[in-house]
Symmetry: D3
Subunit: 108 residues, 6 copies
Amino acid sequence: MAKEPTRAQQLLGDFAPKLVELTDEVLFGDVWQRPGLSPRDRSLVTVAALVALHRPEQLESHLRLALNNGLSQEELVEAITHLAFYAGWPSGMGALTRFRAIVENDAN
Amino acid sequence: MAKEPTRAQQLLGDFAPKLVELTDEVLFGDVWQRPGLSPRDRSLVTVAALVALHRPEQLESHLRLALNNGLSQEELVEAITHLAFYAGWPSGMGALTRFRAIVENDAN
Amino acid sequence: MAKEPTRAQQLLGDFAPKLVELTDEVLFGDVWQRPGLSPRDRSLVTVAALVALHRPEQLESHLRLALNNGLSQEELVEAITHLAFYAGWPSGMGALTRFRAIVENDAN
Amino acid sequence: MAKEPTRAQQLLGDFAPKLVELTDEVLFGDVWQRPGLSPRDRSLVTVAALVALHRPEQLESHLRLALNNGLSQEELVEAITHLAFYAGWPSGMGALTRFRAIVENDAN
Amino acid sequence: MAKEPTRAQQLLGDFAPKLVELTDEVLFGDVWQRPGLSPRDRSLVTVAALVALHRPEQLESHLRLALNNGLSQEELVEAITHLAFYAGWPSGMGALTRFRAIVENDAN
Amino acid sequence: MAKEPTRAQQLLGDFAPKLVELTDEVLFGDVWQRPGLSPRDRSLVTVAALVALHRPEQLESHLRLALNNGLSQEELVEAITHLAFYAGWPSGMGALTRFRAIVENDAN
């Protein structure tokens, strides 16, 4: 039975096979699976980095993953509010505006 | 009895009293105290932002605070290893080199 | 009589009430009101930071605020031209392209 | 016979004449023409900087210029895969997703 | 009579003559001299960009230049306090700590 | 016969074994060895990213590696001069000042 394509395969298919392989086998297949940090904590760390670096596109998919990995909406709002001080107001406001759109969109 | 000066007071004393006040009363006195996210999780988020933004000076004091707030050395190493992918290798290597120096220094 | 909602309230309403409160009471209600720097100079500093950090969304609303706070279109164009050297050409070109669109849009 | 307007003239016309002049006469008219580094290598360096700084808008036009300056699609994919490690996964994934769209769009 | 070497000449002498030329003739010899924005405002904009980009080395020389160009110590402290919100606390704290060291050093 | 420890092993030894493994086996052992881009071009791309991201510590070791991988001092100076426009003057000036120190130090 064929496996469903990963997100990296969908995005970059045969266009960039090495980055797809590194993403699927090293980043998600190895690093994210390591027991030294829970998926919930890895999501918290990843969201924090994406807010700090102001990477809105990747932030959206990682906010959804964070909810799946056990972080509540309230914890994520609180984390981004906290991050506004460390990463600057524009990153905090932008991230929360985007998160709100995701939550409202998914509720419909 | 006089309170010990805060870190912000030590660094910026009368030179920048408004930023000292905002740091002590708003950032540490209000935001960090909010119950919606534990001090341990706030430290994880803060360390992630400082690694991602490559702010080595503030990273050092926040790594120490993270250990005080209940994150283990192993969790922090794992988090920074994870962050090397999201924030780039130079940020990850630089942060772990600095963390190692802190740990070895404090052991002596 | 009910006050009109602030921009932060419009964007984040009940979704992130603490960041709305910090934005309205601390950032705009306290820091921006301080007499040590004029609103015109605060706008100049804010626009410079948003150009340097490449935050196009917040830049748009702060360019409008800058015009309201007394900076002329010519001064802002000159400031962003100057910033192209310090923040890099892509940030300068991107900011001026956006500013031109705002000016032309508002003229219609 | 009138010369065709440059890209900077098209984008910023009379709105920001000094930045147009600096772009056309200093950046493209002088620096890019210098013999110490080939146009192909200058494109490689420029693309790397735009990936690292996460400037998607300018990246698009510089990826096209890079193809014109003699870099192959395969070399650019390989360079961006390499850069994922140094600039972080989000910058690498974002850049390759954009590059794929350009290539597929131009093929049609 | 020989002119004193510029700061760019001192730093990069014959090592990088083109960047020295661009710095002295284009950036300082042309852009900084333009009448559309005062030296005081150019310094304010430059300091803001250097705080936002976290470039401590260049910040030091531009803080001194800002004082020479007519900004008061109090205005610069107020501007950096303001910038802590837009560029993040670590950039604000780091910049003010450095500025304090400059001021105290120059007083001795 | 024991192999000499890699640079990652020297820096992070047993402190962060997973990042050492990823650096030595994936980044240097796999990605850098791929035939799709020459070591010389990989060095050019890496130096450009480190200049753009302003990572002075890693820049120093990668400038030395770039010289070993066949880039001349003149090409690197020209590349960084070019990058001053894209990454901003402070990154360009800082990188060339550092490169000059390396070259002069190694000549003695």
